[in-house]
Symmetry: D2
Subunit: 277 residues, 4 copies
């Protein structure tokens, strides 16, 4: 008995659930968990089905593909542990939380490597017996630096690239290379405080809540599809540094939680939004 | 074109989703929204399907019933607005919130009457042109009082009875008369502070959070299936009265939110728990 | 025995707490509650002292004023209930919550009148025996309309003007007339979604939290000092209308809570920020 | 220039703030931050004053002691980093969070040692170059085990002992040895689910929120003064194991946050409650 996940993302039409679940039934696959959603604005149908049984992928998928309308994006995903590469700069809290959760099994993930543009987090990474690569940006133009990054990343063939407080902007070429596979944590409740130094912006504006946003990276800076957000309350006694300190716990938990959902193949991207089933 | 909701609650077995959605498809009923859940502990299957189309209830339900296993509880619910009767004592905030939300349409409900064992809330109720009945408990034994309550309630044939800070305990006979149809708001995060004066208990214990719980009423006091809960943070500066004042907003929003889910037929009761689809 | 509140807002210097509390002690005034804060960025000292005793205001304040540095803003406030006028357009939930809380005493305030630019909320207001004035903006230029508003407001001499979903922009002249005395509820977690239709903006952006902000009104639209904010979680199943519906509870509780703090004289304005003691 | 913290906890009487701040002023000590609270139920006064200047402790404290009423508990605390010993069993998340926060400086603390009754967390602890001691309870009576624990703890002379998911009950003798110096994290929102296996209790009861409580340990199991609590929302899809997994983030953040407040000398214990200034 194996477990696999069937993802469907296609134009909505009558009878889709019946057709898909019929095929699962016909192939003697048991539905462990099933979630669907129809987006009325776009007329698009999303479905995530956890299946258990003895899989003959080819005939099963042939049946599925015949049942689905044109314009479908369909995947059958096995339960292999996903591989990630983590990019960092100097701050340790998001990296530390992922390392710790992978260590104790809370996060079912295979951290292939950590890559930093500074070497501050080398010692921490290596405590967990994970390779750390320094790919410094200094004295290089942006393209050269990104070519080195890509080389460092690609030899691990990761499913996802996690920006755990990686503080450099990525070029469209880099982003296009890994579509919907780069996850970033932004330290504000987007779209508030887009851009640099959000805690300083928050302090200047005198807000009473600060937050964090995990999102897929697209070409439009801080505009990619949001996976998760959360906030904490602050008051007049917090300056920008204290906001930053208080914000660390929410940053790391928002990133880990988003990553958890992505690793369970629950997150569909639709335009600049996500559907999470 | 009509809208109806099909609820299924039955022993789980392979192919249930396929069977049910096939029948909907065969009867040309479009699935607007579908949610299912299998409880692995009890092996029970729950499904809520919002359907749109031209309904011929009898043949449709005959097909559904043939498809379902023994021990199924199945309902097809039309979109008629639900009727409620509200029971109160002296506090106005939960009643006020429901009155206001029915008034502005946030809560799609038909408030048939408000019944109080004191007359404090008569004036408020009548502002909204809803009948108020005083059914005083004074100088009566419990049975006589409940017989009067039942008489007052039953002439309205309500779908649900809402205890909006009704401060008297109901007998098993009363509760048995309206199974899973009485909703209560308890002013603590159950199971903490069962029983009387929860804010005083909370103050004595020195807690840093207080809360509220909306639940169906069963014979076991404060032990009925929980529909919703929420909390707020307090600190050492709150005494019992200030906790009570601060708790009002969370009480009323938890009760209204639970009621909203119940009125949309999203809440299944299973033993002393709820499944909310 | 009377209760009054002493507010101090002055440049910080050594010994201020000692000086002020000494004077209270000398005048036999008991300190019920005392809160101070020094803003290190601006070097400004804020203090709120609840006093109980027999007050001889003149000699007490003479002593206080001699003790304070130049540039002090000092107030001694008696415990008279504050007067407010509420401005509305069509939506009832914020108005309804304030009416209900004034009715049951949760909010210690004297609602003098409600003024609408539409007449939708007349019936609701009058249920609570509070005068409603229609000051329509139709077929009038902005100045004429505001002159009529001012006339309607000023005959009540309110301490504060509450914009409870008043959907028109106020001119600088209007705002300047009531400095730090106009409180608005904005239906987003500012500074996200400044401007019109924030729920539509939120829906388009695909956010996972929506919120509300209570703030003092200044000339810069949506830029005034923030008093309170809160958020709720949403997901992909919410369209703009459902976000608006879900947001109502957080809007009304944020506004009521901010108003509660303002009415207790806890909110100091400093530039575009607030200090809440 | 040095920084110290003056803590006062004494019977309330008129003029206390004036007297204490006068003495600070007289000794040329600048008040960086001052917080007071009077508990009206017990008539007790609490004050925490952060001072900056050149300290002559003896004459300053002589003045303070003469000013305070009988029954005062007064401390002047220097800014030396506090020392802790952490007790663990098998679960790593709370230990991991404290290790990581001490590592990156978010928590200003000196972890002297980690002591486990199992050796599971030895490797994790030693990654951070902190000594780990196994003090197994197996094949020993409770007293012998605790004597060994005490010996292991006392050679480090810690300010506080942190139970980071230490799953054994401590005897009154052990607790009495470290009054108000043992901090525990309990994985429920106390007083709900006192005792063993709270997530299983929560699952059986069908609650919609789960939580965590950080408290000082006293003889009455799970009854000690609460420092902090927080909760997260769950639904019918969570079984006990999933609640436990989801609860880890809230457990670790509640414990770290409580520890942060204790390390900053903000937490006063009064009976079975805390006052946090």
């Amino acid at each position: 008995m194996e477990r696999k996940i069937l993802l469907n993302d296609c134009p909505d039409e009558k009878g889709l659930i019946a057709k898909i679940t019929n095929i699962c039934y016909k192939h003697q696959l048991n539905i462990i968990q099933n979630n669907e959603y129809v987006d009325n604005e776009t007329g698009r149908f999303f479905m995530r089905t956890e299946l258990e049984g003895i899989f003959c992928d080819e005939p099963f998928l042939t049946d599925i593909d015949q049942a689905l309308p044109k314009g479908s994006r369909r995947q059958l995903i096995d339960s292999k542990r996903k591989r990630i590469v983590i990019l960092v700069t100097k701050e340790s809290h998001c990296l530390g939380d992922i390392l710790m959760k992978a260590f104790d099994g809370s996060l079912d993930v295979d951290i292939q490597a950590v890559i930093g543009n500074h070497d501050n987090l080398c010692a921490l990474t290596e405590k967990f017996c994970i390779p750390f690569h320094l790919v410094s940006h200094e004295a290089k133009d942006r393209d050269t630096h990104e070519q080195e990054l890509i080389a460092a990343i690609d030899r691990y063939q990761p499913d996802y690239i996690v920006l755990a407080k990686y503080m450099r902007i990525l070029t469209p070429d880099f982003v296009a290379r890994y579509p919907h596979r780069i996850i970033n944590i932004h330290h504000s409740f987007l779209p508030a405080f887009i851009g640099a130094r959000p805690y300083h912006q928050a302090y200047s504006r005198g807000v009473k809540i600060i937050g964090a946003t995990a999102h897929f990276v697209t070409n439009d800076l801080d505009e990619g599809p949001i996976v998760g957000q959360n906030v904490i309350h602050v008051d007049h006694t917090f300056n920008a540094e204290e906001m930053a300190r208080a914000g660390r716990d929410v940053e790391k938990s928002v990133l880990s939680q988003a990553l958890h959902q992505i690793l369970e193949d629950r997150v569909f991207v639709q335009g600049n939004k996500t559907v999470i089933l």
